[in-house]
């Protein structure tokens, strides 16, 4: 179950000479340039006042933070940040707790109907998101949750995928651990909390990062269930900003930088965890 992403040992024999390596570096650097250009354009344009931008004058002498100040004046980014943080943290914790409890039961408890229910769970993995989008919107509205935190958070507590991933992992832990603990009089809840959870640290961390960045970047659901400025998450807020200032590029880029910077900083600091989390989860825990 370990995902090894960056082991320089055990690779295919390169058989590349010095020139081959140089050529490869040239190709990789071109790729780097293509991937990073959008970020650079975003940064440079965010620092350029509108007049200089229209005159296509990108000299660093013009750089200023005015666009950022103006963006913060026009858009409540602080509020968007707060909402995105509250929603992402709550969904991540809630989803992992709920999925982990269910996964523990599916993997390590024996009760009637367990396997049939799990199969039913798996079968629904096939259903695409657009099918449940409309009824879930109507259900949320019916519950009186429209345009509120519960609308953004509660549906995220449940995930077939996370349950499946954790169940696969819990199946792999030795059953003897539970049996020994039961001999000592431990309850199932205690076995889950004190044995199974501590043993699944890496997989929980990987899943947490996967869930967190998925919720943080999610766009369609918060777009559908919120309407007031106060309830917007960062992607939805950024999108409405596009509607208002479709060609005020300096402001739009400043907004994008504000939206991205913290995520990218965390990503660069914790890169290994991001890559492993997404690889592991992306491959369904194989």
């Amino acid at each position: 179950m370990t995902v090894h992403v960056s082991t320089p040992t055990g690779q295919a024999p390169t058989g590349l000479g010095r020139w081959g390596r140089l050529a490869l570096h040239a190709v990789l650097l071109t790729g780097t340039l293509l991937m990073i250009t959008p970020f650079l354009v975003m940064l440079v344009v965010s620092l350029i006042p509108q007049e200089a931008f229209l005159a296509r004058d990108f000299s660093p002498a013009n750089f200023s933070l005015n666009n950022f100040a103006e963006t913060f004046r026009q858009v409540p980014f602080g509020r968007y940040y707060f909402n995105s943080t509250v929603v992402s943290v709550s969904v991540t914790i809630g989803q992992i707790l709920v999925s982990s409890l269910a996964a523990f039961a599916f993997a390590r408890l024996r009760f009637r109907g367990r396997d049939a229910l799990f199969l039913l769970y798996l079968a629904t993995l096939m259903i695409p998101f657009p099918v449940t989008l409309i009824p879930n919107f109507l259900i949320i509205r019916g519950l009186g949750w429209y345009d509120s935190y519960p609308a953004l958070i509660v549906p995220g507590f449940f995930s077939v995928f996370s349950t499946f991933l954790l169940r696969q992992y819990y199946r792999g832990l030795p059953m003897e651990l539970d049996e020994a603990a039961r001999m000592d009089g431990a309850s199932s809840l205690r076995i889950w909390w004190q044995i199974v959870l501590p043993l699944s640290g890496p997989v929980l961390a990987a899943l947490a990062i996967f869930v967190f960045q998925g919720v943080w970047n999610d766009f369609l659901w918060p777009l559908v269930v919120t309407t007031s400025v106060e309830m917007r998450t960062i992607p939805v807020g950024l999108n409405s900003f596009v509607g208002q200032y479709s060609t005020a590029w300096g402001l739009l880029m400043a907004g994008s930088v504000i939206a991205l910077l913290p995520v990218l900083v965390i990503y660069i600091l914790a890169q290994r965890w991001f890559v492993e989390g997404i690889t592991l989860s992306g491959m369904g825990g194989r």
Binding site: R112, M126, F158, L220, F274, T279, R286
Partner: protein, 310 residues
Amino acid sequence: MTLPSEHHRSWRRWRPDQQWEGYLFILPSFLGFLVFVIAAVLFSLGISFSHWGLTGFKEWAGLQNYQALLRDPVFWRALGNTLFYLITIVPSQLVLGLAMALALNQALRGIGFYRLIYFMPVVTTIVAGAIVFRLLFSAQGPVNSFIEGAAALLGFGVEMPNWLGSTRYAKWAVVFLTLWKNTGFTMVIYLAALQGVPRELYDAAHTDGANAWQRFRNVTLPMISPTTFFLFVFQAIGAFQLFTEPFVMTRGGPANSSLSVVQYIYFAAFRDIRMDKASAMAWFLFVFIFIFTLIQNRMQQHWVYYETSE
């Protein structure tokens, strides 16, 4: 994604003392499952077979919503665009992702740096990415300026399109955005697969006198074919459901030329308040994805190699 073999002797037998515990552990998850999946699916099916507007249920409609869809030129347009996204994005992403992974799988300096950069768009908020690409592909934007400048240097002139204003090219701008955003994901998954190919196979092929291309063709490709299959299906399902990229970048325009099916579902449900039409479309899409996946599953036995591990 195979389930591990059932190796506990009494695994399937249930235990009375764990009967209620099991249900209690599952309860929170099951409630969510019941409401947001089972009820939602049935609800959606019901809406798709009724007339449903601003005030809710009006009357049963039978197949009328589905029949109306088949006569709706915009729906066919959206379906065509979605297929366009599928056949442009999925293969290029597989090829580019594999090429990047192969390059990064070499013993080179700076691999960590390249991977850091290539994966950066994957963690980027897609709305921010779409905003930058609006600028990059604007009429006098960086992409056009760069290509025109490069062409001028080489001594010929090119006329670059106004990408986002063109019914022909808007889709392509969406494709480029999606490739930029997602190729890093494909790369990282391929990289993990490449590192799982046993070294001995390459050594043996080398001893048999296979050249680099033959080793790639006869060792690497078959060994990573399960990953290719997984990525192909995964990316295709993603392409069927493309929404944010065209929504933020082009709003589906001009003249619906970049409208995707999910975008049309969104507009039908939440702009025109036609929940019935939107639900019928969602089911149409589901059936489409289902048939597609089924066909791929059938076809995989011809090209996917599964190692029988003992």
